[in-house]
């Protein structure tokens, strides 16, 4: 095994510098907005398909969209949030990706 040069020993410091950037990538949320055309039953079905929600949870989010105008249906890393928004657009729901805070 090769000796580790002194500069490599410092590599964990570099990792620590990267962590805050990775952390910045965490707080994204997927928001579904109200739309007078999409049927309530259809929106419920889409939430079940895309997020794997059970019927009760899917209906709760659907009602939140209907009554409050929007519902946060998922939050997490940006890449996955983008994928969910793309899927929701594929089902023709009004969905956006928003950074928390």
């Amino acid at each position: 095994m090769q000796n580790t040069p002194e500069s490599s020993v410092e590599s964990p410091v570099v990792e620590q510098e990267v962590r805050p950037e990775a952390a910045l990538d965490l707080p994204w949320q997927v928001v579904v907005h109200n739309d007078p055309i999409n049927l309530m039953t259809y929106v419920t079905m889409v939430f079940q398909k895309v997020f794997g929600f059970n019927r009760e949870k899917a209906e709760q989010h659907m009602l939140e969209v209907h009554q409050l105008g929007r519902s946060i249906v998922w939050s997490g890393v940006r890449e996955r949030a983008e994928l969910y928004v793309q899927q929701l657009h594929g089902y023709l729901l009004l969905a956006t990706l928003e950074k928390i805070g």
């Binding site: 007078p36 049927l39 023709l92 956006t96 990706l97």
Partner: protein
């Protein structure tokens, strides 16, 4: 008109020429070309903010995929609708059988058509709740009837595939 599940098909029978024609119009009605509001609705922004980079990337990478998906759905529906062409007597009732494996394409195409028509005629919530308006008053009234009729079909298909 009668609609029911029949094994691996959803069967719409006793379709009068008027409703059969509305069904034939699904693919054409789902096309947003030339209606800016409809284009904007089908290809809505992924972000409420003015993040131009994200919007540009979305337009470049995601929109083409969505266009392919939407086109594929309307093509599937168009192929199923071929059953309504040619066989029936000119003014006779006819039957349409939708394979249940095409149900998702139908839901998507019906939704596209409803959104495009609503954007085209700028329907308000009050319009959309008016289920008793005659479809023969104007082209706009016919559009409202289409939106409600297509919505009824969506409800039925959803109920049957659950």
């Amino acid at each position: 008109m009668e609609i029911r599940r029949h094994g691996e098909h959803i069967e719409i029978s006793e379709l009068d020429p008027f409703l059969a024609e509305l069904l034939r119009q699904i693919p054409e009605s789902a096309n947003p070309a030339g209606v800016e509001a409809a284009e904007q609705r089908l290809f809505s922004s992924p972000t409420p903010s003015a993040e131009t980079e994200m919007r540009a990337e979305w337009k470049l990478y995601v929109e083409p995929e969505l266009r392919r998906l939407f086109q594929s759905s309307t093509e599937t529906v168009g192929a199923d609708l071929q059953q309504l062409n040619g066989k029936a007597k000119p003014f006779g009732n006819c039957t349409l059988r939708i394979p249940t494996h095409n149900a998702e394409a139908w839901l998507n195409a019906l939704n596209q058509a409803r959104l495009v028509i609503a954007a085209k005629y700028n329907f308000t919530d009050a319009d959309l709740c008016d289920h008793y308006r005659s479809p023969i008053g104007s082209r706009r009234d016919l559009g409202l009837f289409q939106v409600n009729f297509y919505g009824f079909l969506q409800e039925f298909i959803l109920h049957e595939i659950e």
